[in-house]
Symmetry: C2
């Protein structure tokens, strides 16, 4: 008897929870999904099994999540740097939880909602007592990860996971999660870390999106406003810097998501840090914008600033070689491409919430994967219906600066039979803390092959053994220095003396450009501040001439200076040396090229000079020959150098 | 009137030639095609348009030849080395002529037969007065090319071109071509160059095939016999050597095509020079064998020596990584694969004239191209009919030596989920003049990626600026030396003191092997002659252990010696250094590792030692980590070295 009545009581109790739930969440509110909307779910269920790209993406995700469910949930106490166990586990958790949330909404199988709930409950259990992460390398330490940035990543994904099971949870469960986990988590990322939250920087964009997205799910207007417009009070001193040496606060700087849209992009959609970080930042920009479009349509966020977010996706797709890999401008890991996770959702969002640009479909087709939501179905359906058009990358200028008047980046593309030669010339602002001292530098590609290369960054992302996956000191001593780039170095000093504060004050200036004739495309730009008293002026043209089957690149570097200086102009050819038309020595021992500013990282493999007025140097790359012909004086030194000196840990 | 009668006379004259032609070439003789037979042509014509692989191959060849016909025939006076204009032009000529001959037979369009005829007539015009090629670098200079070897290539292909239009030409035309071009050409390659023709070597195989094939077309039995059994008299001294340092004549050596089949292959089909040269030699072996099968079926050449030619194709396909690239054993250019021209015809021939092995079809399908003849149609038809089976590469031993008792090569393959780890261990004979001093060396692959690499050769094939495309002196000073390989070096001397005569006398010995259990595969071999008084014994195993997700490679090198020596054991890891568990210095200047025997080409980038008994060294290759764990003594030196010293022309 006793047993029976207990059960009866329990049932009644459960029923009452459901009633309460039904009262609190008005239908109208619940139907507005964060990312997956109820219309989207209807559309997906209707078309499932008939749209190959969507079906395959769903199948892949299902297999991935099912495998993780089998392994079971692990929420270890945070300890490791990037690449280490706890870091990778927590990172995997938020990716998988977001996917499981999607699967629950699409397939309705409670094994997915239970998985998300159980994982969130584990986090809610440890979070209230979690101290700062034990590694103290960051200017803004996280709790789950070594830096708040990764914690923000966690919340951007977990907000989606939570949204996916929100109405399936009981009010009590939600209250528990929100009080013990989400609200303190959001406050930690914002109020407790204003130096992280209130910047114009990709870090803050992640922070803003994290706080805003959980705010939208929780219907917590205070968090949403904080995300959109920043903290009113932050008590950060102007001129404060982060551990990468970047400014945290500068005069006239606003904060919040809207301010980041305003100030981090030029009107062309160029992101001042460069394409590598633009790729990384595009996810929070686009996914939070999508959530806002669904939940706060009155903001009309995708139309904001003349559609700058949509333009940014287009700019990013154009900042790639023919394999879709991003040009390694500023701090940039080579090999990242528009096949990356962030670009898949960015392309789908730009298609769905933009003008349904059919050329985006051809990129989505190459990505061969879509997001599992309204936008992904929209793209997959259009591809099924053969609506795609080619995405043709043309020569273009991407201006820099909020007003588009702070220099920029020129991309010249020259098509010749099967090959596309691409010249990238750089004359923008410093590029914030991830900028390099490489005014008027260039790089050259033939299709997807680097011919004259840019080094990119010195960092092994996610490899724990290499400084916890963080930036290596060689990033400062080598990768950022001027000598590491294809541009002029004066007296073995880097531009702006390698001083970020000075560099950040200036930008190069476009002199002129003309891309109107495919057979003669030209860009000319000036830099007058990198070396006080010296004016640098570089003009580069790509010419399709009848005298040569292949296009010719012309490079005219004009310098005016007040006193005699030493100038170095490196060309980082990639390939095998075939021939040189000058004599050079071949040293018995290798010495360093210099002592500082990156020179200490180069071995001097040969020095020569040329009596002839034209110095010719030929190398072989991917079965093609390239010749650099330079006007030289017999007093000029011609140096063969190789990277690798002063590198005790073999980081370069 | 005068005009008319002239014409009349001319017509009669033409008719009589055709009558004579008809008389000389009995139908029975003509129907026996050299490569394309009349049955083959019938079969092709019947199936054309319904066999995609054949049709596509035909279309590609047609486009290629049509483009060349438009450009017109050029037969320049020979002058250049490989990579230079005249070399490349003549090389292209024979490839295109062979293809044009095929197109004429298949399509019947006289523009192709005219093209072949006109080209051959141009050659017949210059050949009688052609001196030796002006470059005098070869032990056997050619006339069209700098070496007879390339002239032999010319004749192997031109024989086929000639066969294709043979019965379409008038007897007078044929007589002219044979008297002024083909017969003198064949005599030049044989009687006038016995040192080239009468060897056991890939050069001679080309020479034999060239002379034999033109002999078969011309019905010149003397040439056929000469090709099959060599010159009776050659007046070559025993011990004579070629310009690569290889023996021209050794005791007990026979000559001719049959002798080369007898003596260059082991019973397993392993070719003593290694897979790179086997690939190169397979074309004349297989194409002449095919011609013999068609014209001298009584020889039953494909059954000869227990089907050794068919086995050789199988061996060669097994000597590849998972991308189909040949292991760079001995002198070998990396990147050559079973997609090469020579392997396309070899696979088609092995299928058609062998046992119709359906696993060969899967290789042909990957090659995505077939020969345009009987065998190619046979393969394409079988693929169309879905008859192919996977070609599964297993662990195997390929013995060396005519009797299969002179050591060999072991290939251990270990499959683990998506990855195939492949260990290649080498214990064969010296490998003729292209052999390296690398007894008991090994290399390691993960799928198509080199993990522990073999350097291969020092040569830029067909790149004129690099020693005319020939072997570089660094091939001797570096690539062949022991230190360039993953094996033991004693006292900084190469095996056999780097002396070819001594090395050629010996071979390593298999101790035992067991590939019967996939989870534990082992090979053990000994070398007792490389260093007199020292016995080397290496045992390598690939183990799939439950303690590790990935297979483990165990390497036990046992040495017994009479006196104290210095030993070096290099591991040429390929990738980025991640971590080492020992201290090492990081030099301010780089010095060479040594003075001779290859050591002069290495820069010493760090030296250390380890107090711990296990030295661990981790590197990253293609996103995978590899760790080398060695038992070391605190007195052992651990050296980081990098190739590139003593390399004034940047050849390495």
């Amino acid at each position: 008897m006793n047993k029976k009545s207990n059960i009866l009581i329990l049932l009644i109790f459960l029923l009452s929870i459901e009633q309460i739930t039904g009262q609190v969440n008005k239908d109208s509110e619940l139907s507005k999904g964060l990312i997956l909307t109820s219309e989207g779910i209807t559309q997906i269920k209707k078309n499932l099994g008939t749209v190959p790209l969507f079906d395959n993406s769903l199948q892949d995700v299902k297999e991935e999540v099912d495998a993780e469910i089998k392994i079971g949930i692990q929420v270890p106490i945070p300890k490791d740097m990037a690449g280490g166990f706890t870091h990778e586990r927590h990172k995997n958790n938020f990716f998988i939880a977001q996917k499981a949330g999607v699967l629950f909404q699409v397939l309705g199988d409670e094994k997915y909602s239970n998985f998300v709930k159980d994982m969130l409950m584990e986090y809610a259990k440890i979070y209230p007592k979690l101290p700062l992460h034990p590694e103290d390398r960051s200017y803004s330490r996280g709790k789950i990860f070594w830096q708040s940035l990764n914690d923000a990543n966690w919340l951007v994904y977990m907000s989606q996971a939570y949204a996916g099971i929100y109405s399936w949870l009981s009010k009590e469960e939600r209250d528990h999660l929100e009080q013990d986990l989400f609200r303190p988590f959001a406050d930690f990322l914002s109020i407790e870390n204003p130096q992280f939250f209130n910047r114009i920087h990709n870090h803050s964009t992640w922070g803003n999106a994290a706080v805003g997205m959980i705010g939208l799910v929780m219907n917590d207007e205070e968090l949403v406003q904080r995300a959109l417009y920043g903290l009113e009070e932050d008590n950060i001193k102007e001129g404060a810097k982060d551990d990468d040496g970047g400014f945290i606060k500068q005069p006239g700087q606003d904060a919040g998501f809207i301010a980041n849209i305003d100030q981090a992009f030029s009107p062309t959609g160029y992101y001042t840090e460069g394409p590598y970080y633009q790729r990384y930042a595009m996810y929070p920009y686009m996914i939070f914008a999508e959530a806002l479009q669904n939940k706060r349509p009155e903001l009309n966020i995708f139309q904001y600033r003349d559609r700058v977010l949509i333009k940014a996706v287009d700019a990013l797709l154009n900042l790639t070689d023919t394999d879709g890999e991003f040009f390694p401008i500023n701090d940039a890991q080579k090999g990242m491409s528009y096949h990356s996770r962030e670009l898949i959702s960015a392309v789908d969002i730009a298609y769905h919430f933009g003008d349904k640009d059919p050329s985006l479909l051809s990129i989505a087709k190459k990505q061969n994967r879509v997001s599992l939501d309204d936008k992904g179905m929209s793209v997959a359906l259009a591809i099924r219906n053969n609506e795609e058009k080619p995405f043709v990358k043309k020569s273009m200028e991407l201006t820099d600066g909020q007003d588009g008047k702070k220099g920029g980046l020129a991309i010249i593309r020259s098509k010749n039979e099967a090959d596309i030669l691409t010249l990238v010339m750089k004359y923008p602002t410093q590029g914030d803390s991830h900028g390099h001292y490489d005014k008027l530098s260039f790089s050259l590609y033939n299709n997807g092959d680097e011919i004259i290369q840019d080094y990119g960054l010195a960092r092994f992302v996610n490899i724990d053994q290499k400084n916890g996956g963080g930036y290596l000191k060689e990033n400062t001593s080598w990768a950022k220095q001027t000598i590491a780039h294809n541009t002029i170095v004066q007296n073995e000093n880097s531009h702006f003396n390698g001083n970020f504060e000075i560099g950040a004050k200036f930008h190069s200036e476009k002199h002129f450009l003309d891309f109107s004739r495919p057979e003669f495309q030209i860009i000319s730009a000036k830099e007058n501040n990198a070396y006080p008293g010296t004016n640098m002026h570089r003009t580069m043209a790509v010419i399709q001439s009848p005298v040569s089957e292949q296009p010719l690149v012309v490079d005219i570097f004009k310098l005016s200076f007040e006193k005699q200086n030493k100038y170095d102009l490196p060309y980082y050819y990639l390939g095998q040396i075939i021939e040189a038309n000058f004599e050079y020595n071949s040293p018995e021992i290798l010495e360093k090229l210099g002592a500082n500013n990156g020179y200490q990282h180069l071995w001097k493999e040969g020095i020569g000079s040329n009596e002839k007025p034209n110095t010719k140097f030929t190398w072989l790359a991917d079965n093609k020959f390239y010749t650099l012909t330079s006007i030289t004086d017999k007093n000029d030194s011609l140096i063969f150098a190789r990277l690798g000196a002063t590198d005790p840990l073999f980081n370069l």
